[in-house]
């Protein structure tokens, strides 16, 4: 046994306490749960994008040996309420979203019936034995066509495909800005639909205890507390009889930031059938019926002076919502408007957004959720503006940065950036990239006839979501810390990590603040029976908000311990000193450890008057603002003229996520995020054909990055603490995905610029790039 690692822990690249169970194959994911009498659930899903359901015949399915029940919407919808949407959008037109389809189906993958059997193979057999007569209806696929007069309707009963419109103006007078402009730079950009594809699909186990009337649902979810809050509005169970557990969760990326129909239905089935049930999503179901991301089409205009000064920005965006509003569907494209100006002083903005229903799966929060779209468009626009005005793109960016002293910095989008040093990350990234040398290399490559490009993005994003006033239903976070009678420490957090490593990073914070060994700290999470309240994990909030709630708990415990120590040592409280995990007082020989104090506090035979027994505290942390991490990514690429294939030669990422708790985990988050971006830029795209058929329903057709696609990284950081939480942490879960997409895209377009290419939409597949090269090349022989 090696000696235990000693404090301080914050700032150190400690390996994770989560890992031993995971590398041994001994972790418990939802599918690994075993309950006596467990029944298996399988869904029949629509093969049509839009159809009337004329008849469902379940008679053959029901008679298969081992089948317990086969149910349709007519059997369950009246018991299961409406799938919730928590977005606050005025005048939102929202279709009635039942757990199973009623007399119509609205997207490929729409659940139509459910079979329950003792064996999962038999449940699938039962699904295959159900007969459904569909009468296909006109399909809405293209959101821009959908808002034209006379277009077919996704939901005929709504009378329109427009779910909502959203108009924002901010800062100075936008019309005046465009009148004063020397030039108006316009571009249309399509931000393609993406599929999150966590490697663990969704999974639900539900078990009802008839004796006490309690229901426990294990779900592969990011948000056990939100599920517990919202399910009682759907099925016949009270909140205080419902326990939600997120066991080991195999990735989320926003796809599991939801309350899904299947979760409610499994809970209902467990109660209805009096037996525990399990549903494991197949990959095909995951691609078709778990939320998608992005899917915005925009026309953008920048008002600019001849010296490059940007006066204003207009965005007209069509957001494809798919067929239903899931938990946050219509809110996601509105988030884009909050960071539209990026890290630049742009005095006036105008956003006109229309959210459109189409016969596809719903879009919702996918890693970055609205901010990657904003960063992509502003960073592409900065390159386009620089080129049109004839100013260096680094200079153009730099010229519009607020200075360090300008923070807190209020933007025209109506948010206040907490802290920043944009010149700092830019300078460091340029230095790490050896920028001047890159430019020379590019010139040499071009002189030799090669297509060589350099791209950059200087990004800012919104994290640590968020102040309750700005969130749909509470943005605080909860925590509880208990010094056990043995002196061991139990920290309970309301965030619900699923790969981020907060059992480690939160333990680092707790161990440092208490002055104990990290091995003596256990962090519990993801079970509403243990972590009574919480707002879970999304929006890069876990460490900043979950950690801050724990810091508040520790402050309370130290204060209480100080009172107890003063009593035990016979001194006044102001003479008690707490350092390195020990309490003492000048001139008193006796020193008290946490174990001794916990013994005194729990045995409680010698407490000062009025002091409660125990050494435990819980707290709600309410952030004063969001945090705004930022950074600079620089990428160098070569494009093969013959094939259109892009090769990344250099990748530099400098990210500032505030105070760094565990640099190893931060590096992992950034690299993981960049891999999502790399996929988005080079090959990922969710495709529906003109009939609304999903063509990317498997890993065979939807290409996520593989190991061989990843470049070598040069990674750097700067540290600008956030003033809005006691840890100074900003958050880093989405930074890579936000910063990388425009940097890689800008590099490819830069490589094609000598041919006259101004913009290409993503993904920049070899085919799309090759076609652009052909179109822009001098006519071949």
């Amino acid at each position: 046994m090696s000696d235990p690692v000693k404090s301080p822990y914050i700032g150190r690249a400690l390996k994770r306490v989560e890992d031993p169970r995971l590398v041994k194959g001994l972790a418990t994911y939802t599918d690994d749960l075993r309950l006596p009498g467990l029944l298996h659930v399988c869904f029949l899903r629509s093969p049509h994008a839009h159809a009337r359901v004329d008849r469902i015949d379940t008679s053959a399915a029901r008679t298969l040996p081992g089948v317990v029940a086969v149910l349709t919407g007519a059997d369950v919808n009246e018991h299961c309420g409406i799938v919730p949407c928590a977005a606050e959008i005025p005048d939102l037109k929202s279709p009635r979203h039942t757990v199973l389809a009623g007399d119509r189906v609205y997207f490929v993958g729409h659940p139509v019936a459910v079979a329950i059997a003792a064996d999962p193979y038999v449940a699938r057999d039962a699904i295959d034995a159900i007969e459904v007569d569909y009468d296909p209806l006109p399909v809405v696929v293209d959101p821009e066509e959908a808002i034209k007069a006379g277009a077919p309707l996704t939901h005929p009963d709504l009378g329109t495909n427009i779910a909502f419109t959203h108009h924002v103006t901010g800062g100075t007078d936008i019309d005046d800005a465009f009148r004063r402009a020397d030039k108006i730079v316009k571009e249309r950009m399509v931000h393609q639909r993406l599929t999150p594809m966590p490697i663990e699909p969704r999974a639900v186990v539900a078990s009802y205890h008839r004796g006490d009337g309690t229901l426990t649902i294990w779900s592969s979810t990011q948000v056990p507390h939100l599920v517990r809050t919202l399910l009682p509005g759907m099925i016949a169970i009270a909140e205080n009889k419902l326990r939600i557990v997120a066991p080991e969760v195999g990735g989320g990326f926003g796809a599991k930031l939801q309350v899904y129909a299947e979760e409610a239905l499994c809970g209902h089935l467990a109660m209805r059938l009096g037996a525990p049930v399990k549903w494991i999503e197949s990959r095909r179901e995951n691609a078709a019926a778990t939320i998608h991301g992005r899917d915005q089409i925009g026309e953008y205009e920048v008002a600019v002076k001849n010296d490059g000064t940007i006066l204003g920005l207009k965005a007209r965006t069509v957001a494809d919502l798919g067929s239903y509003c899931q938990l946050l569907t219509p809110a996601i494209p509105t988030l884009t408007g909050l960071v539209l100006t990026g890290c630049y002083r742009i005095p006036a903005i105008k956003v006109d957004l229309v959210g459109v229903y189409t016969n596809k799966m719903a879009t919702d929060a996918y890693r970055g959720a609205g901010r990657p779209e904003a960063t992509y468009l502003i960073e592409r626009l900065m390159d386009i503006v620089a080129r049109e005005v004839g100013i260096d793109r680094v200079e153009l960016r730099s010229k519009h940065f607020p200075a360090v002293a300008d923070f807190p910095f209020q933007t025209a989008c109506g948010v206040t950036y907490d802290s920043g040093n944009y010149q700092g990350t830019l300078a460091k990234a340029r230095q790490l990239a050896d920028w001047d040398q890159l430019v020379v290399q590019r010139a040499n490559a071009r002189a030799a006839g090669r297509l060589s490009g350099i791209g950059m993005s200087t990004y800012v994003e919104i994290c640590a979501m968020g102040p309750s006033k700005a969130m749909p239903a509470g943005g605080w976070e909860w925590g509880c810390v208990r010094i056990e009678i043995s002196g061991k420490v139990t920290a309970i957090t309301g965030v619900s990590p699923h790969g981020q490593g907060q059992e480690t990073s939160l333990a680092q914070i707790v161990a440092d603040r208490l002055g104990v060994l990290i091995d003596d700290v256990v962090v519990l999470h993801g079970d509403t029976g243990v972590a009574h309240y919480g707002r879970d994990t999304y929006g890069s909030r876990g460490t900043a908000l979950g950690g801050s709630a724990l810091v508040m708990c520790i402050d309370k415990i130290v204060a209480k311990a100080t009172t107890l120590v003063a009593h035990l040592l016979g001194v006044t409280a102001d003479r008690v000193v707490f350092a390195d995990g020990r309490f003492s007082a000048p001139g008193v020989e006796r020193r008290l450890s946490w174990a001794e104090l916990a013994g005194e506090a729990f045995i409680a035979k010698n407490l000062p008057p009025g002091l409660e027994p125990g050494l435990e505290a819980s707290s709600f942390f309410e952030p004063a603002n969001f945090t705004f991490p930022f950074g600079t990514h620089i990428v160098a690429v070569d494009v093969d003229r013959e094939t259109g294939k892009v090769t990344i030669n250099k990748y530099v990422a400098v990210d500032d996520c505030g105070i760094r708790i565990n640099p190893l985990l931060i590096e992992g988050q950034v690299q993981g995020g960049i891999a999502h971006s790399l996929g988005q830029v080079l090959f990922e795209r969710t495709v529906y054909d003109e009939n609304g058929q999903l063509l990317t329903g498997e890993f065979m057709d939807y290409a996520i990055a593989r190991a061989g696609d990843i470049p070598d990284y040069i990674m750097g950081s700067t540290v600008t603490p956030s003033p809005v939480n006691p840890l100074g942490v900003k958050g880093v879960g989405e930074a890579g995905t936000i910063g990388a997409t425009p940097a890689i895209a800008n590099a490819v377009i830069d490589a094609l610029q000598p041919l006259g290419v101004r913009h290409l939409d993503l993904p920049l597949t070899p085919e799309r790039v090759w076609r652009a090269i052909q179109q822009h090349s001098p006519v071949a022989v």
């Binding site: 995971l22 690994d32 490697i199 992992g668 990843i710």
Partner: protein
């Protein structure tokens, strides 16, 4: 029903099974070894990778009946006497995992790579795991982890 006999992590399992039972479900449901995961059921994601007679195989694309008589090693069979296999240790040391769902399959592919190439280059490692998808790490730390394991003895040594 048909009879099969498989040796899994050194223990013999004789069972009468349905002919259509996949190897991955035999391991998970019959043997109770849930460390082998199912991510796609089409042989692409590699979360279900196990060693069948020493070769890395995707257990979701093989029937248990096809593995009759075979020697299977799963993630649970790698550690010896409480010591992590160097590949498991490498994933821990180099932060080669986040959510951990792809990890058992990734580790088994890494083990097989080192069995045939003790000192692979980073490019060779990336190529060897192209049949294993990870959506969390971005792969760099996974390649670091396999590099860490390369050259370390396969028994004892590690913690």
């Amino acid at each position: 029903m048909i009879s099969v006999r498989l040796r899994v992590n050194g223990s013999e399992h004789r069972r009468d099974i349905e002919p259509r039972l996949l190897l991955v479900h035999f391991l998970r449901e019959v043997c109770g070894l849930t460390g082998t995961h199912v991510g796609c059921e089409t042989g692409i994601c590699g979360a279900c990778t196990v060693l069948v007679d020493g070769s890395a195989v995707k257990a979701c694309t093989l029937l248990a009946a096809q593995a009759d008589g075979a020697e299977i090693t799963t993630i649970e069979g790698l550690a010896t006497n409480g010591h992590l296999h160097p590949m498991q240790d490498g994933f821990w040391e180099r932060h080669g995992l986040q959510c951990g769902f792809c990890t058992p399959g990734m580790i088994m592919s890494g083990v097989q790579l080192l069995a045939r190439n003790a000192k692979p280059t980073r490019a060779e490692i990336a190529d060897a795991i192209r049949g294993n998808l990870c959506r969390c790490t971005g792969y760099t730390h996974i390649i670091d982890a396999i590099e860490y394991a390369a050259g370390r003895p396969a028994t004892g040594g590690a913690r």
